[in-house]
Symmetry: C2
Subunit: 301 residues, 2 copies
């Protein structure tokens, strides 16, 4: 990678830029996701947050929802099994008026056994594993990803809507109405929720979440524990279903320290020790991508 | 039951009154659920919709959310196993200023294997089965109920938040944003969703619902099928989890003709023939309750 390369992880709700130069790594983060760029003028937004890093000749890499239909340049999906070389080969280039070359990464899609998509997480996956490694990489979040890595390639994956389901149930369902104002996830409620999910009670997830309300009504659960209980139920279900397809491998967790902590607790209740992946997985991934692109002289900046 | 008894099934969003007199059955329905009675003046609302049926001496029975904390008179829950006689014994009486006697039914709660509650459905269950019958009664809806009836008693049950989860995901999640304006449940999408749920793909329900979006993005699913697909997924999961605890019994469906139709389709895809219960289950239940109360002279109007 060119010493002054700029990499941008630009999602729905956040903007992160990295400069992996010879003097080390610099990072910038702003709450300037693509949804906040109302007029579609992504170039101005990029220059506002990282313009001082970009001069003609600076290679700029972009991934995340900035490459989706609602972003700047829509890139195709590459299909599983997908290697880092496949990712590099499918980047889409766009030149700005001053000659700056932007490279937009593709997303990854899977067709079987069930259709699934990711945009942005793939670079974190490649930053978490070695070139020929086998691993089960779990990226918890709004739409968690469970990624099956075989010989360094993304062999398959599945997403779960855990974080988003928690948010919409809390904000818009009958469950939210029983929570105290400003309720947060507390450790005791979280643990009870994970245990309930792992207990595989009749009725499944759609029953278990109703149980957050029933538990409060019959006095088994305190209202202040209910938010943690609901979070634990959903994460517990995600983990129980994910582990069923894990072939006994220990998952490697990649994400924010807080989320990784919650998930490690939940995995431990399921009897599984989860590993913590690198905190700078995205940067590592872009660095590997830069090396990959560097092999092809035509693609060099 | 006294020939002129009035029965009221008063839920969160609807009001239904029945007069099961000697000249047959009269029914009234209004979109006047307890949430629409803003000032808590339930007596005026009752008189507005059924006042001409009520004179001093008319016995009036009320069930549903009108007996909850947010209703008129909060009644206790009776615990499973619960018989019709238990229900009759736990009614709570309130006299109006003119001497009219109101009887509020209790709800039913379960403590093991998981806490659960119902208010209003229990009378439909007793109206769907004979005195000593064994049955699996399924009442689909916002919070579906699967009720295990043994020797005429409610031995146990579980609720699933199927209808509410569908509504909040459609209105407030990323899934709703991919649906065309005014999207409705179509038969083809519904069938695909049920089949996906029954296929038990890795990742469980939290993955399958994300698949409604992935399917559209990779071109496997048309946006116009996505609402039906989501509905089918959720009902498919409800059924698959419920049947696992059904001991091989055929479920009897009690509810609106439209919902019962959807569920019969889904059960058929799971290889199970579901029976249609009586359309007038609530009235039958109240009639049985009246006979039960009539045995006790002290409770007679």
């Amino acid at each position: 990678m060119n010493a002054a390369a700029v990499i941008v992880d630009w999602g729905t709700s956040s903007f992160r830029a990295y400069r992996a130069g010879e003097r080390g790594l610099e990072t910038r983060a702003a709450e300037a996701g693509i949804l906040s760029v109302g007029d579609g003028d992504f170039e101005s937004a990029l220059r506002r947050y990282a313009g001082d890093w970009i001069v003609p000749g600076t290679p700029v890499f972009l991934s995340g929802m900035i490459t989706s239909r609602n972003g700047w340049v829509e890139t195709p999906y590459i299909e599983t099994p997908a290697s880092l070389a496949d990712l590099a080969a499918a980047t889409v280039e766009r030149r700005l008026a001053d000659g700056t070359r932007l490279r937009f990464l593709p997303g990854v899609c899977q067709r079987q056994p069930s259709p699934d998509v990711m945009r942005g997480e793939e670079i974190q996956v490649f930053g978490s594993v070695a070139a020929d490694e086998d691993a089960l990489v779990v990226l918890p979040g709004t739409h968690s990803k469970w990624v099956d890595v075989r010989a360094g390639r993304i062999a398959g994956f599945h997403s779960t809507m855990t974080g988003e389901v928690y948010a919409v149930l809390k904000a818009h369902s009958i469950l939210g109405r029983l929570l105290p104002e400003g309720a947060t996830v507390d450790a005791a409620g979280f643990r009870l929720g994970v245990e309930a999910a792992l207990a595989r009670r009749p009725g499944g997830l759609l029953h278990d979440i109703f149980g957050a309300r029933s538990g409060v009504l019959v006095g088994d659960l305190s209202p202040s524990d209910a938010a943690g209980y609901l979070s634990g139920l959903l994460i517990g279900h995600e983990i129980r279903e994910g582990l069923a397809a894990a072939d006994g491998r220990s998952p490697m967790l990649v994400g924010s320290a807080a989320l990784v902590g919650h998930y490690r607790t939940a995995f431990a209740l399921a009897g599984v020790e989860a590993l913590a992946g690198p905190q700078d997985a995205a940067v590592r991934g872009f660095r590997r991508l830069g090396l990959e692109l560097g092999r092809d002289q035509d693609l060099k900046a």
